[in-house]
């Protein structure tokens, strides 16, 4: 063993060393297994009922198409990566027909992206648009094989295979128009399907990145830089189910601060056990956490859970309690979490 390998063993051993109650672990696992089994039976029964209904009636779920991306259509205009409320592309769920959830990200930092997931995390596809190819290089990493020439809708493209975001995937790069770079990372089975997905992306449409939340007032010197929102598809076109959203603003010095919202889990005992409110902000019990992850946490903020923190852990100290409180105090929450058409068209300002 080399010195480094010896140090690795020592480091890993020291980090993992902690007592574990196997009795509690086994009991919890068995409880969870019984819940899964009951749920499967319920789903099985529901599935049987659905089959019976389908046999006696024509049940037609609307086939999601290009126009049904779950987000409102934007009027268009603007340049890629300049407006944190707009993405300048749309996905075709006719090709990505196994998609269960989609995460959209728009920014004023020169990039936009969307990631689609299937129901069991077996595959994912991420599409990026950027004005600077270096942004795509950083996102793709360097763990890949040789590139091959290809085409996307007649445009020259490069195709390669490698490990991206820790999974084997195909990468396709092309320049759909001068100065705009596109990249598709797809953890799918074949390069042909990855190319099919790349060709299905509509660059002649723009969508609004919206969330059921609005920051009504930016503190002096702050600017809104990114919108992130994840929605789950439902059989009803245009009515996706909200999962979570992140609103990123930059402090005057450039430190990004994240306002993170997720569906409320107040009923989850493990969440409540971890939550130790030490103040009230905007009428809701809140915990200002001084240990990692540092930030202002609400298990209940209207219908959602909220966490305000510095985006990067190394900047944790850059966000003061007063600033986090000020941001939370100026948040407005939408009543209907599952109706993006009713959400504010701009999440900040």
């Amino acid at each position: 063993m080399t010195d480094l390998e010896t140090r690795l063993t020592a480091t890993l051993t020291a980090r993992a060393d902690r007592p574990v109650s196997t009795d509690a672990l086994g009991a919890a696992a068995v409880r969870r297994a019984h819940i899964v089994r009951r749920r499967r039976r319920a789903i099985g029964a529901a599935g049987l009922a659905a089959v019976l209904v389908a046999l006696f009636a024509v049940v037609r779920l609307p086939a999601p198409g290009v126009g049904d991306n779950g987000l409102p259509v934007a009027a268009g205009g603007g340049e890629v990566g300049t407006d944190p409320s707009v993405v300048h592309f749309a996905l075709d769920y006719g090709v990505l027909d196994k998609t269960v959830a989609t995460e959209w990200v728009s920014s004023s930092k020169g990039y936009e992206k969307a990631t689609v997931y299937d129901g069991e995390n077996r595959w994912w596809v991420t599409f990026y648009l950027a004005t600077d190819e270096a942004i795509l290089d950083r996102a793709a990493g360097d763990d890949h094989g040789a590139e091959e020439p290809s085409t996307v809708n007649g445009e020259p493209a490069l195709l390669r295979e490698g490990f991206y975001d820790n999974a084997r995937a195909f990468e396709i790069r092309w320049e759909p128009r001068p100065g705009v770079h596109a990249m598709l990372l797809a953890s799918v089975n074949t390069a042909d399907f990855a190319l099919q997905v790349a060709e299905s992306i509509r660059l002649d449409r723009a969508l609004r990145c919206v969330m059921p939340l609005r920051l009504t007032e930016l503190p002096p010197g702050y600017r809104w830089v990114e919108c992130q929102t994840r929605v789950r598809r439902t059989p009803t076109a245009g009515q996706p189910r909200w999962i979570h959203s992140g609103l990123t603003v930059e402090q005057p010095g450039g430190t990004p601060v994240l306002i993170w919202t997720i569906e409320r889990r107040a009923a989850d005992p493990s969440v409540q056990a971890a939550f130790h409110p030490n103040r009230t902000v905007a009428g809701w019990p809140a915990e200002w956490r001084t240990t990692s992850p540092r930030g202002l946490w609400f298990t209940t903020f209207g219908p959602m859970e909220l966490f305000v923190c510095a985006l990067n852990p190394e900047d944790a100290d850059a966000l003061t309690e007063a600033e986090a409180t000020r941001l939370a105090t100026h948040l407005e929450v939408s009543r209907n979490l599952d109706a993006p058409s009713t959400w504010p068209t701009r999440a900040a300002g």
Partner: protein, 173 residues
């Protein structure tokens, strides 16, 4: 050097409960090294064990519950990372930082190396943990990661190169 002795069970215990008693703690420690988060590690292991419980007969007959469960944990940890762990609302603290006053000598060295390990790509990190913590051979690691042994060696080589590079850079600065 710290010597690490890990006994692989000769054969899978007949009952699920006996297996958890024998191997549950090791699985949690393995998951801690994959996720860097004690709370999530326990959660992932509970989830993996629940899945195993539902098909225990088949897994035990195949005589490979350790491989099966480690594979579940590697994949579950990967899925968790991909969702953007640092953007999730906390339910408990993330223990990736040294306690104040614990920065002398070996502890500081381990802390520095651990910070580099957590920044490795997921598969490289999994290989490092399986090789240097679990003390498994490349063939077994390949079975867990569902890849060829040569891929395991490539991941290990890249991970070690990356760690050496960072340590050299830190030493130089």
């Amino acid at each position: 050097m710290v010597s690490v002795i890990r006994q692989e069970p000769e054969a899978a215990p007949a009952s699920f409960e006996a297996y958890v008693a024998a191997r549950g703690a090791a699985l949690v420690r393995f998951a801690i090294l994959l996720t860097g988060d004690d709370q999530r590690a326990e959660d992932l292991v509970q989830d993996a064990l629940a899945k195993a419980y539902l098909r225990w007969g088949r897994i035990r007959r195949a005589d490979s519950p350790d491989v099966y469960l480690r594979r579940l944990l590697v994949n579950a940890a990967r899925s968790w990372w991909r969702r953007g762990a640092n953007r999730e609302v906390p339910i408990e603290h993330v223990v990736d930082r040294p306690a104040p006053g614990d920065l002398g000598g070996e502890a500081a060295d381990r802390d520095q190396l651990w910070r580099l390990i957590v920044r490795l790509p997921h598969r490289q990190r999994a290989v490092i943990v399986l090789r240097y913590y679990e003390d498994l051979d490349d063939a077994t690691i390949a079975e867990i990661l569902d890849c060829e042994p040569v891929t395991v060696r490539t991941h290990a080589m890249r991970a070690l190169q990356r760690l050496r590079g960072h340590l050299d850079a830190a030493g130089a600065s």
